[in-house]
Symmetry: C2
Subunit: 371 residues, 2 copies
């Protein structure tokens, strides 16, 4: 195992290849037949992650064991949802260990199969992480149709973010035609998907985002009915006034990817029996539990009979095909747009992830590793 | 109209008798035939209410108009839910005007009827407020069965508080047999009713209250499975540890009458897919909106897929008979207990209400006006 650049060079680590349950030891690595490179977590980020928190490693994969497939990764993702797991804190997913391959949804091509359910040449999406080649069991693999309108979308709008938007809006939020739907972080892949699906369902859709570029894309490309600029609003009351201007008759459903004072501003604009879907709380992720903002407006839950519910998209795993079939159709006929920010090569992923966490990336952040 | 003792003596006010849509003017009062007394809001309370915020007034009622009934009030209530309306703030009920008869659920006997749906001698419950006699339309009147096991209960456990417990637990909270249910302010009429109904449904029930007297009543009379003493706990973490000791396997449903750090302590103990019913937020009622505590733990809604929903019992008005029939049966066979604190006479109501708001009353606070 040669280390290309790593802060871990001085101490050997036990590493995982692809699937999280296959430990590669020095003994099995001596039987390797395939070169690969991957990016591991080198140290826990303090606050904002920096590229030196990660390290690129070269390795050779062992003979493919029975029941597994070898996947060449085409697109890996700088997935903001990974941030929580880097600190080793308990969340709905376990924390990542040092030396472990960085996680994230990805899409790739099967180059060798010893699993009868899959054949070489098939496209698959799965949690391959930041690696050029992985060897995984069939568990958690999703088959990508050969005629897909966009391979990269299977690491974005047709993967966790898009599925979160789909099920959060339709199932957890139970959006109905004619309702007014408000969405925070609306230019991100979760919010943009949720908003466009709401439009397709006959809702009026208002997106909250920061800055002219994102707001213009929401209106002109994604077809949102109205937008709210979050930039420069000092308080929940300021934000509430901006939302009220865009939604003078109030909001039926707030799809929240952000949390914090923006959540209270939305609550102030919710109508009787309004609902809140808690999809993300990114404004509180870097804050200690006792300093989190949460919401000050629980009393409004009584006066307005509000309902708030959180979701994790994996609870809907048995319906993922339903969602991707619908979304693929909408992508094909031009009714569902998505934005991608694509860089080249595995080495670009750490810097891409850090830029993403600083809010500098507009669109699903992907690295193209092969094609 | 003679004023017995009132801070309003110096200025004549237009007052309402009983029903809120019948304004009694000096002209109509000259045709009066029935003496009554009532208590009006004399000024808006600043912080904790004091008896001087109210005034007792004597008046004579006019001839009974067609379509109305005259009710002799048997039990009037010092209802904590009235506090919100005294400040003139917008809530789910409108604010009360100065000079208006103090509101509250009550129970009485029809002494004269010009409404074909009701007859003299019938017992009825309704929002009669703090008055000895009222003249009201049939709207909002509920008929009390002649064989009721307790007349006063129709101003308590069979009125708003008990109905809130019933529908909050069964409908909003959707409690199921085998679940663990946690209830705050459990010795109050809402919480005690919800908890006992949860027991009848086959739940394990944990009550939170302050002090040995209430905790003993919850265990020995109301039959709660476990209790948590709230007194002296400094932080949400302290409270969370006490709840964890009583609910080592976690909580499925939290029925919240209190809010504040106690809500966060409950959230910390909720299981996956746990639910929260927001029935009251009394810890935040006397606080300015921007200083309210709310909850800091919205992020837990994602990791644990929590659902939180507020209720106002009037949304279930068309099912009140279902609830009172069930609860009357449980009262009769001894499976549903309730505690009342009864004082005598209309004049006792302001002091009773103020003591109630200071947390000094254990049990539904009632004044017996007639029998």
């Amino acid at each position: 195992m040669s280390v290309i650049h790593s802060t871990l060079a001085a101490k050997p680590v036990q590493v995982l290849v692809g699937s999280r349950d296959q430990v590669v030891t020095p003994a099995t690595m001596r039987t390797a037949m395939q070169n690969s490179r991957h990016v591991v977590l080198a140290r826990q980020p303090q606050g904002q992650p920096v590229p030196a928190d990660f390290a690129v490693q070269a390795r050779t994969l062992p003979d493919l064991p029975a029941g597994r497939v070898r996947v060449e990764v085409l697109y890996a993702t700088a997935n903001p949802g990974s941030r929580n797991r880097l600190s080793g804190q308990a969340s709905y997913a376990r924390g990542m260990a040092l030396g472990e391959t960085m996680e994230g949804p990805a899409v790739g091509r099967i180059v060798q199969s010893r699993n009868p359910d899959f054949q070489a040449g098939e496209l698959v999406s799965g949690p391959f992480g930041w690696a050029e080649h992985v060897q995984v069991s069939g568990r958690g693999l999703r088959r990508v149709p050969a005629d897909t309108p966009s391979v990269s979308a299977w690491a974005g709008i047709l993967s966790i973010p898009g599925l979160t938007g789909y099920f959060g809006l339709r199932d957890t939020g139970a959006a109905k035609a004619g309702e007014t739907v408000l969405i925070s972080s609306a230019a991100g892949p979760v919010g943009a998907t949720a908003g466009q699906i709401a439009r397709l369902m006959g809702c009026r859709v208002i997106g909250i985002a920061s800055g002219a570029q994102k707001l213009r894309w929401l209106r002109e490309v994604a077809g949102f009915d109205a937008v709210v600029d979050r930039a420069g609003a000092a308080t929940a009351d300021d934000l509430a006034a901006r939302i009220a201007a865009a939604a003078p008759d109030g909001v039926d459903l707030y799809f929240d990817n952000v949390g914090g004072p923006l959540l209270d501003a939305a609550i102030a604009n919710l109508r009787l029996k309004g609902r809140i879907v808690i999809s993300g709380q990114i404004s509180d992720y870097n804050t200690a539990p006792e300093q989190r903002y949460g919401t000050r407006r629980v009393d409004s839950f009584i006066s307005k009979r509000l309902r708030m519910e959180g979701l994790v998209v994996f609870d809907f795993a048995d319906r993922f095909d339903e969602a991707t079939t619908a979304m693929t159709g909408w992508i094909r006929d031009g009714r569902l747009k998505f934005k991608e920010h694509i860089v080249d090569g595995l080495e670009a992923l750490p810097a891409l992830f850090c830029a993403q966490m600083r809010g500098e990336i507009f669109g699903r952040a992907l690295a193209r590793l092969a094609s």
